[in-house]
Amino acid sequence: MDWTNQGTAMASLKINGKTITVDVEDDTPLLWAIRENVGLTGTKYGCGIAQCGACTVHMDGVAMRSCGVTVGEAAGKEITTIEGLAAGGVLHKVQTAWIANDVPQCGYCQSGMIMAVAALLKDNPKPTDDDINDAITNICRCGTFQQVREAIHAAANA
């Protein structure tokens, strides 16, 4: 729905394998374009300053904090959100491990956590605890870190 009378600013985004044209300014944070213009709300707003990682998505396969990336910077890149992580209806092994290990508490940070871990395992299929410590910097206020660590190892060994 276009509520505005102040002209349109179309942008084309490739999200979860689909090209989507949205009416959004180039300088809009990718996070808000994903949530409000594309309508995928699995990617969460936590801080808006790339500190907490709740908004983590993949851009050309790399984990990025989407609050710190503009629509202009994301145009033409392959973006994957939590909704697009399962391929062909089959959950990603990180999601499967998350369910098996009952990781989430409130769950609000977990979309970003899962996206960060999926990117880690793509680059480093068998991360050590030290590798995990270096790569996973997302905030979880509930404190699920113990289950996150166990589930990363479980996914790596799946």
Binding site: M1, D2, W3, T4, Q6, E25, P29, W32, E36, N37, G39, L40, T41, G42, T43, K44, Y45, G46, C47, G48, I49, Q51, C52, A54, T81, I82, E83, L85, A86, L91, Q95, W98, I99, D102, V103, P104, Q105, C106, G107, Y108, C109, Q110, S111, I114, I132, N133, D134, I136, T137, N138, I139, C140, R141, C142, G143, T144, F145, Q146, Q147, R149
Partner: protein, 736 residues
């Protein structure tokens, strides 16, 4: 969502809503309302769920396909209560756990049915412990009715029937039927007047570490939190409240932003807030940031952390008035005449809840109806807030609870609901989603109260502790949030963890004891922050216990044990952690230990930490052991997570937290200045559950009390340096 059913009976109730009665009361024992289980109605008028399936009673709906819908009044915010309460109902119901789903009744429905679901408040670690009795009865009553329905159909005595996993068997003949087949008939049966609950030792569903019921959607992005809801035609609002608490809006220049993209309206919210409503939240926030607002900050703008600290320090002077919360003997006289005295002054700062999901609420207001969608720890408090803010009667108001992206006490408050209603009222017919920015959330919290504490201990010539004077100065939560709960001005909850008796009692016997509170209430609004007053009281008492042990030349554990002879449950959890961490054997080289215990929320907890320290300032926590006795454990896997999470929350606050005040406002605005622990800083927590039975304690909060003192005592063991002011970042101490 449930539809309204039994309209006539339900809607004509003129329920008197007392706003205060709904305000969350996390801190005090028995703060919840008296609750009767008003199990509805046997007889022909069956209450039906949305799809027409019959309610066996208010807690249990069984569908023809055998799906068991269990109603949950308390809120799930990550703590696992949703699953735990469902386990308790299912245990007594004897249904097939794999067929169980859950559903939130709305507060409006509950009020219309004479609060059939009891208290909705989910704070004070009460979710399970204060509703376990009636939810279990709800399950047991439904079971009896379902079995009776089968017996009636077979024309046999119910005593000849048994049930297992939702399959009813007539034992003599071996005939079987299922809950789904008899639910319709069961719903018409008069409920039994009384039912016998199972002995927890016979539990097969409760007491087990079953998987949570809400996990899958939290791993796929499908779970809808308050911030995620979308309604047709919905607009989005961003808000700024006066940065100085108690200040007001003087003026704002809406014309300056009227032409910015997406802007629909600029509205004042109460005396102190301004909101921009736009097509998207990003447009609303961008325009709000550009909106010129002039504030009337008032006298509070002169307040700073320094002025607050000075005022609180004055309260430590024994000449100042104070409320006595616990005393025996004559501590002041014993201290005056003692052979040896030890004195120390501690302080603990404001803390923000910093839930991952900032505050938000979505409201559709018309003159006929006010509907709210939000995450809340207390659906009834949100309902009462919406009633008051909308001015509509109860039957025209309702609250639809959504998943909370964290609560920790913050979402028991209703400020964000009131704001959202106030905005929506200015745009009738259009759904408005109000979402706070992280900055708004950090700077308009309901903060962990600020306190200082002077502790004085006295010994006789044989190094026996003969007196302890615990003088607290600072903020009362109840003074601000539930003034009607004060007792002749005194805040009884201020003594959580150091009280004489009750659900948060002191674990030490000292011949001369004086625990008192000089109340000082700065203008920064306090709230119930996970652990509430247990946090600072446990830090003060447990660090000082180590100081006393040092003065007496005794081992910290042995020193405590001598004072705990009359507190066997406190002692049992302390002993459990001591054994598990290996207190009686030396720690690995370069590793140092600290230990602490406290009681809170009806549970006994203890913790021990092993740390190493580099350059006197860089702490690595190697190991944490924690023990808890909550009486009964409903889901050990979730209790374990609550224990571990309490350390993350408590140590984040200890190391990185602390909200400071300058010019009347909170300085920290985001996670760059109010940081939180990451995975690399957190060791595994080894939990030891020692449920001793006979009482029901909470698990979400008590453990946080021992997190900081266990580490601080280990830090002293490592460095000989006693830290008495927090957070540690202000002492240039951080994680290695």
């Amino acid at each position: 969502m449930l539809p309204r059913t039994r309209k006539g009976a339900a809607m004509n109730q003129h329920v008197k809503i007392n706003r205060r009665s709904f305000v969350i009361g996390a801190a005090t024992a028995g703060a919840g309302l008296a609750i009767g289980l008003d199990l509805p109605f046997g007889g022909p008028a069956v209450v039906r769920a949305a799809d027409g399936s019959p309610e066996v009673n208010a807690w249990v709906v069984i569908k023809p396909d055998e799906t068991v819908v269990i109603r949950i009044a308390r809120s799930e915010m990550g703590q696992g209560t949703l699953t735990g309460l469902a386990q308790l109902v299912a245990e007594e119901l004897e249904c097939d756990w794999s067929k169980v789903t859950t559903e939130y009744p709305t507060p409006g429905q509950s009020v219309a049915r004479k609060r059939v679901w009891g208290d909705f408040s989910t704070g004070g670690s009460r979710g399970i412990r204060t509703s376990q009795d009636y939810v279990r009865k709800g399950g047991a009553t439904a079971r009896v009715m379902l079995i009776q329905a089968a017996a009636n159909e077979w024309k046999v005595p119910a005593t000849e029937c048994k049930v297992s996993a939702g399959v009813i068997t007539h034992t003599p003949t071996g005939r079987t039927t299922t809950y789904g087949k008899v639910a319709e008939a069961a719903a018409k049966i008069e409920p039994p007047a009384d039912v016998k609950l199972k002995d927890p030792k016979d539990w097969t569903i409760a007491g087990k570490g079953l998987k949570r019921l809400d996990t899958v959607d939290k791993t796929t992005g499908k779970m809808i939190y308050g911030a995620d809801i979308k309604l047709p035609g919905m607009l989005n609002a961003a808000i700024k409240d006066c940065p100085v608490f108690g200040g007001k809006v003087k003026s704002f220049d809406a014309a300056k932003i009227a032409n910015m993209k997406g802007v629909k309206k600029v509205v004042q919210v109460g005396d102190s807030g301004v909101a921009v409503v736009a097509d998207t939240w990003w447009h609303a926030k961008t325009a709000l940031d550009a909106l010129p607002i002039v504030w009337d900050e008032g006298d509070n703008a002169k307040v700073s952390s320094e002025t607050i600290a000075k005022w609180l320090a004055e309260g430590l002077d024994n000449a100042q008035p104070a409320y006595v919360g616990n005393q025996n003997g004559d501590a002041k006289a014993a201290i005056a005449g003692a052979a040896k005295k030890v004195e120390a002054v501690y302080s603990y700062p404001y803390q923000n809840h910093a839930t991952m999901e900032p505050m938000n609420a979505t409201v559709l207001y018309t003159s006929e109806k006010c509907e709210v969608w939000c995450g809340t720890q207390n659906g009834e408090a949100a309902f009462a807030a919406a009633l008051e803010a909308s001015g509509l009667p109860p039957e025209k108001v309702d609250v639809h609870k959504l998943m909370l992206g964290g609560g920790f006490g913050r979402r028991g408050m209703t400020d964000y609901v009131r704001q959202a209603v106030a905005i929506a009222k200015q745009m009738p017919g259009t759904p408005i989603k109000l979402l706070w920015s992280r900055e708004e959330d950090m700077q308009h919290g309901k903060y962990h109260p600020i306190t200082q504490c002077k502790l004085t201990g006295a010994f006789d010539a044989d190094n026996n502790l003969i007196a302890l004077h615990y003088r607290l100065s600072g903020q009362s939560i109840l003074f601000s949030v539930r003034p009607e709960a004060l007792q002749n001005g005194m805040d009884p909850a201020a003594f959580q963890g150091v009280a004489q008796s009750g659900e948060a009692s002191i674990g030490y016997s000292v011949p001369n004891l004086l625990v008192e509170h000089a109340m000082r209430n700065p203008h920064v609004p306090p709230g119930f922050w996970r652990g509430v007053n247990v946090n600072h009281n446990a830090i003060y008492m447990e660090c000082f216990m180590d100081e006393l042990a040092l003065a007496a030349g005794q081992d910290p554990l042995e020193f405590r044990r001598k004072l705990m002879g009359k507190h066997p449950k406190h002692l049992a959890v302390l002993n459990a952690v001591a054994e598990k961490i290996g207190w009686s054997t030396p720690a690995p080289k370069g590793v140092y230990r600290g230990i602490a215990q406290v009681m809170g929320y009806g549970s006994y907890v203890a913790g021990a930490a092993e740390i190493s320290v580099t350059d006197g300032s860089k702490i690595k926590v190697h190991r944490i052991v924690a023990s808890t006795d909550p009486g009964y454990v409903v889901n050990p896997a979730q209790v374990e997570r609550q224990i571990a999470g309490s350390f993350v929350y408590g140590l984040s606050a200890l190391f990185y937290g602390g909200c400071t005040v300058k010019d009347g406002r909170i300085e920290q605005a985001n996670f760059d200045t109010y940081n939180s622990m990451r995975i690399n800083e957190m060791p595994k927590v080894e939990s030891v559950m020692v449920p001793s039975g006979g009482f029901w304690g909470g698990v979400g909060e008590p453990t946080i009390g021992v997190a900081a003192p266990a580490v601080l005592n280990a830090y002293f063991a490592a460095t000989g340096k006693r830290i008495r002011s927090f957070p540690l970042r202000t002492q240039n101490i951080t994680f290695a």
